[in-house]
């Protein structure tokens, strides 16, 4: 069926609840397959359990599932189990070429669709195993080379921990020390990552802001500008909604992943300032926002 077509082994997340990076990865993989690229997919084990519908869609298009990695991903809320599973995975991955046993051909490239180290390292190891190229899509900077950017991200973690964990009980010295420790650890990680990513075969950045924030100009990196946009399905849906001329409700929206870097704490504080001077919808009467969103 594929003849001399491009064959890739894709390492990607497909659980759409994990954010925009996953959405782009899925859309990209679907487009590849529709354009005669053979795609075999390696996914985190947790996606096997939590991403049924995406898995079904991809299989229907002709994507084969090559296997699962990140065994520990199924135990995200159980640290001890996660550590044990992670150790088991390391042993399997290092001592048994378990993927090669079930894999009948060599891909032209092993492509990580995410920038995070677990995905990129997996793709890199597999590319060595199959003597093929390793490619990584950077959907975020894997590290920050601009000092101010790096510091602000640490500050956002700190803010999160201060308001949502026991960090507020720490003394000033303890807080300063923990912030310095995070900064030092980030610096070490940055240097390791710098040398690793610099020597990968190919990096595709989905925004010109990525090399800027990494503070690098590398020969192995190409930049898509822009690297994403709305697809046809989204565009049709948006046009349909706009045609219905929806009326604005008194809603201030926060729509992002619930994580420190996404600024939930600041959003809550900004919302408090706004709501003091502005009447917003009151949800204390068990009003269901899903109904609000469906009203015409």
């Amino acid at each position: 069926m594929y003849g001399d077509a491009l064959k890739i082994l894709a390492v990607a997340n497909i659980d759409i609840t994990k954010g925009g990076g996953v959405l782009r990865a899925i859309r990209s993989i679907k487009w590849y397959v529709k354009n005669k690229v053979r795609v075999d997919l390696l996914i985190p084990l947790s996606d096997v359990f939590y991403a049924h519908s995406e898995l079904k869609d991809l299989k229907a298009l002709g994507v084969s599932i090559a296997g699962a990695f990140k065994i520990s991903s199924i135990a995200s809320h159980a640290p001890i189990l996660k550590k044990t599973l992670s150790d088991i995975e390391n042993i399997l991955f290092r001592r048994v070429n378990f993927l090669k046993l079930s894999y009948k051909y060599s891909p032209d490239a092993v492509v990580s669709f995410h920038e995070s180290t677990d995905f990129v390292v997996t793709a890199y190891i597999l590319s060595k195993l199959f003597h093929s190229k390793s490619v990584s899509l950077l959907q975020l900077p894997p590290f920050y080379g601009l000092k101010r950017r790096a510091e602000n991200i640490v500050r956002s973690w700190f803010l999160w921990n201060y308001y949502l964990t026991s960090l507020s009980n720490y003394s000033n010295i303890q807080r300063k020390l923990s912030m310095d420790l995070i900064k030092a650890s980030n610096l070490i990680h940055r240097n390791i990552k710098y040398n690793f990513y610099k020597h990968l075969d190919m990096l595709i950045a989905v925004s010109p802001s990525i090399p800027l924030e990494m503070n690098v100009k590398w020969d192995n990196m190409v930049i898509l500008d822009p690297g994403l946009t709305l697809d046809r399905e989204d565009q049709i849906l948006i046009n349909k909604i706009i045609k219905e001329s929806p009326t604005k409700n008194r809603i201030i929206l926060y729509s992002a992943r619930i994580s420190p870097e996404k600024g939930l704490i600041e959003a809550l504080y900004a919302f408090r300032i706004m709501s003091k001077n502005f009447q917003v919808s009151d949800f204390s009467s068990q009003e269901n926002l899903k109904q609000v969103s469906k009203e015409h």
Binding site: A5, L6, G20, L23, R24, W31, N35, D108, V111, V135, L138, L140, N152, I153, L159, M202, I204, S207, S209, L212, E213, L224, P226, G227, L228, T229, L230, R232, D234, Q235, L237, I238, I241, I242, K248, N249, I251, I252, L253, S255, A256, P260, K262, E266, A267, L268, Y269, A270, F271, R272, I273, S275, N277, F283, E287, L289, K290, V292, S293, K294
Partner: protein
């Protein structure tokens, strides 16, 4: 929610959980303004969707938002220094009632053509 309770805004907040894309888009279209105080991004779909649905966005002044939206001529987006919460709220107020639209980007198909041809050329199959 504990923090929201502490700030006495819990009764004004509704956590929707996961919404389908249609539900999310309908909600975005009905919102007055979208608060997007992210510190880490490359090219947020979330901002692009809101602008396309005519909902203005206030976000942090980080390279991803500045390069991909503000400098490319998006309408209805305002960027504020990170951690300036008061400035963030003020800008959000100013944006209410304003028009919003994203910059004119190439189509998804064009972007994918480029990505795939890069890959093929690199591997020697293009």
């Amino acid at each position: 929610m504990n923090l929201a309770r502490k700030l006495n805004i819990n009764y004004k907040i509704l956590i929707t959980g996961y919404l389908t894309r249609e539900e999310l888009f309908r909600l975005k279209a009905k919102a007055l303004v979208h608060l997007y105080p992210s510190h880490e991004d490359a090219f947020p779909y979330s901002v692009l969707e809101s602008l396309a649905l005519g909902t203005p966005v206030v976000a942090h002044d980080i390279p991803a938002l500045r390069i991909n939206f503000l400098e490319k001529g998006a309408e209805g987006i305002s960027l504020v220094e990170e951690f300036d919460v008061k400035g963030f709220a003020e800008e959000a107020f100013k944006l209410i009632g304003q028009k919003a639209s994203p910059p004119g980007f190439p189509s998804w198909e064009e972007i994918m053509e480029k990505e795939l041809s890069l890959l093929k050329r690199f591997i020697g199959k293009g």
